[in-house]
């Protein structure tokens, strides 16, 4: 569980706060998407969770441990992060070495380490690339290896900071479907910072930040129901949401706010056209 209590944060030498008295609880096993315009505090929030940034005042707790400069190293073993740029996260000369790196730092015994490397590469479907050079992989493959490195640490929380924004459509889909699987199979908490609202619609919960405050916190469908109000916080409703708005104006509605075009079309068929 992650708890933020009255958290304020200001970068050194900056006059204004990114957050003031922010309160937020994320339960173990939740999949949360964090959305908001550039500079709204999304990445800072991600950094507060693993001690890359420390709260100026207030408390950030991960599984009841308060994050401080002393405890942050221990907390990092429970929170794995994957960043936007796949190039920046590699240290090893082979994929396996790379996954081993974090484990070596934790002084995990060798046979456990080998087992965990194999297991995590299997989870991201990269076993065949075990002895490949990371720099030769495609973007999607690189992010999957970055994800494997995180999984090998058996974290309770995985934070993805725009981890798919540099990927082509196929790479993106690979990474998202692996996250979906992990989330279903393991009881891992997923926190995903993203600008892609179609991606956010996959989560259990959407938190929208605006100028350092929580503008919305709820289910993806309720989030999309906001429609044009999303513009106020720098977001653009997805194509399907805009189409559904037009249909609603003509009193053509379906049972719930559609998350995806297939869902909308299928519902229209079921409710209006099926004989």
């Amino acid at each position: 569980m992650i708890e933020l209590e009255q958290v304020s944060f200001r970068y050194q030498n900056e006059a204004s706060h990114v957050f003031e008295n922010l309160n937020l609880t994320i339960e173990q096993g939740e999949w949360v998407a964090i959305v908001g315009r550039n500079g709204s505090g999304k990445s800072t929030l991600a950094k507060l969770l693993n001690g890359l940034c420390l709260a100026t005042s207030g408390v950030v707790r991960v599984n009841h441990t308060v994050i401080t400069s002393e405890s942050k190293h221990q907390v990092r073993t429970q929170i794995g992060m994957v960043f936007q740029n796949p190039e920046n996260q590699f240290v090893g000369t082979t994929v396996a070495d790379d996954v081993a790196f974090g484990l070596e730092n934790l002084a995990v015994p060798r046979d456990t380490m080998i087992k965990r490397i194999d297991q995590s590469l299997e989870q991201v479907d990269m076993t065949a690339y075990k002895n490949h050079e990371p720099s030769r992989l495609s973007g999607g493959q690189k992010q999957r290896v970055a994800l494997a490195s995180v999984l090998a640490m058996q974290p309770e929380v995985i934070v993805l900071d725009e981890a798919t924004s540099m990927l082509d459509p196929i790479g993106k889909e690979q990474v998202l479907s692996i996250i979906q699987e992990l989330h279903e199979q393991l009881d891992v908490t997923v926190i995903m910072v993203t600008h892609d609202l179609n991606e956010a619609a996959l989560a259990d919960r959407v938190i929208t930040l605006n100028e350092g405050t929580v503008w919305f916190d709820g289910k993806p469908r309720e989030f999309l129901e906001k429609g044009d109000q999303l513009h106020e916080v720098g977001l653009e409703p997805p194509f399907v949401t805009k189409v559904y708005q037009q249909l609603s104006r003509q009193s053509i509605t379906v049972t719930q706010e559609p998350l995806h075009y297939e869902e909308l079309v299928d519902e229209l068929w079921r409710l209006y056209l099926k004989t």
């Binding site: 999607g140 540099m166 977001l235 075009y261 004989t275």
Partner: protein, 288 residues
């Protein structure tokens, strides 16, 4: 400024065990004042290609002619002149920012090219506004900015040079949707009103289809085709094989046609046309 690629190959670390052919036999033209998108999946050679556009890399064989400059074999001085005429914004803005303040960052290029700093300084607020930032950013350190703000500063530092050609590598990745639209419209404005040649490098087909008038499709270091958005949409069944996906609106239309037997006479897929087709179909009822 017209850019012509003729039989261009580019090989990383040639004649070594690590030799890697990144571009093979590329021939195509980017017409002056066009809005050209270079699309292809990650690893298809897009970034290698764009670095030939201002001589950061020069072809291993073949030639790239940019205006009156011909690569390879260009010396330092004309190369500098070329870089003033072809502005390049990299994929990762943190790679190109290094000054202490945003203001110094924006004036670094002009200083390096010996431009009139006093005059440009007066233009800084406008350039920042164009990229969606305000004057208050001038005294801030680029490194305290968010990813999206850094990207905007990197872009502003190139815009201030008023180059004839703008080369943009995934310029909108990591930007919020409103900021993204604002920048794409700025590129369109610079292209249509200011006559800039815009080269957009992206794997985002929504942006490429909506803004470009010419598409250069790369696959595995080779030209797959040079086409227009309209023609590529017609051949969308071939996109997946080269790692790309049609825009969401097109996928929506395909699914709607297939599932609901909707009449669709090749309109442009917009919110209005798609909703109208659905409304008409539902009004026609079950026994259409």
């Amino acid at each position: 400024m017209e850019i012509v690629f003729e039989d261009v190959d580019y090989i990383y670390q040639p004649n070594t065990p690590l030799e890697h052919v990144a571009l093979q036999d590329l021939s195509f033209t980017i017409p002056s004042q066009s809005f050209t998108a270079i699309v292809g999946r990650t690893g298809s050679g897009k970034s290698t290609l764009l670095q030939q556009l201002n001589g950061l890399l020069q072809p291993t064989s073949g030639t790239v002619t940019i205006g009156n400059t011909r690569l390879p074999g260009v010396k330092a001085k004309p190369l500098k002149e070329l870089r003033r005429r072809v502005g390049l914004v990299f994929q990762y803005p943190e790679h190109q920012l290094f000054e202490e303040t945003v203001k110094q960052e924006l004036l670094f290029g002009p200083k390096n090219f010996g431009l009139d700093l006093a005059q440009l300084e007066a233009q800084l607020p406008q350039v920042l506004q164009d990229v969606g930032l305000d004057e208050s950013f001038l005294e801030r350190s680029p490194f305290t900015l968010s990813g999206g703000q850094m990207k905007r500063v990197a872009l502003a530092s190139v815009l201030i040079l008023d180059s004839e050609v703008l080369v943009l590598d995934e310029p909108t990745a990591g930007l919020d949707p409103v900021g993204k639209k604002q920048l794409l419209q700025l590129f369109r404005y610079l292209n249509e009103e200011k006559g800039k040649t815009v080269v957009l490098v992206t794997h985002n087909m929504e942006d490429a289809m909506a803004y470009a008038d010419q598409l250069v499709v790369l696959n595995d270091g080779c030209i797959d085709r040079v086409t227009s958005p309209k023609h590529l949409i017609e051949k969308r069944d071939q996109l997946e094989a080269i790692g790309l996906a049609p825009p969401e609106s097109i996928k929506f239309v395909d699914y709607m046609k297939q599932t609901l037997d909707v009449n669709w006479n090749g309109h442009e897929a917009t919110v209005v046309t798609v909703s109208q087709a659905l409304i008409n179909r539902i009004k026609a009822g079950a026994n259409k």
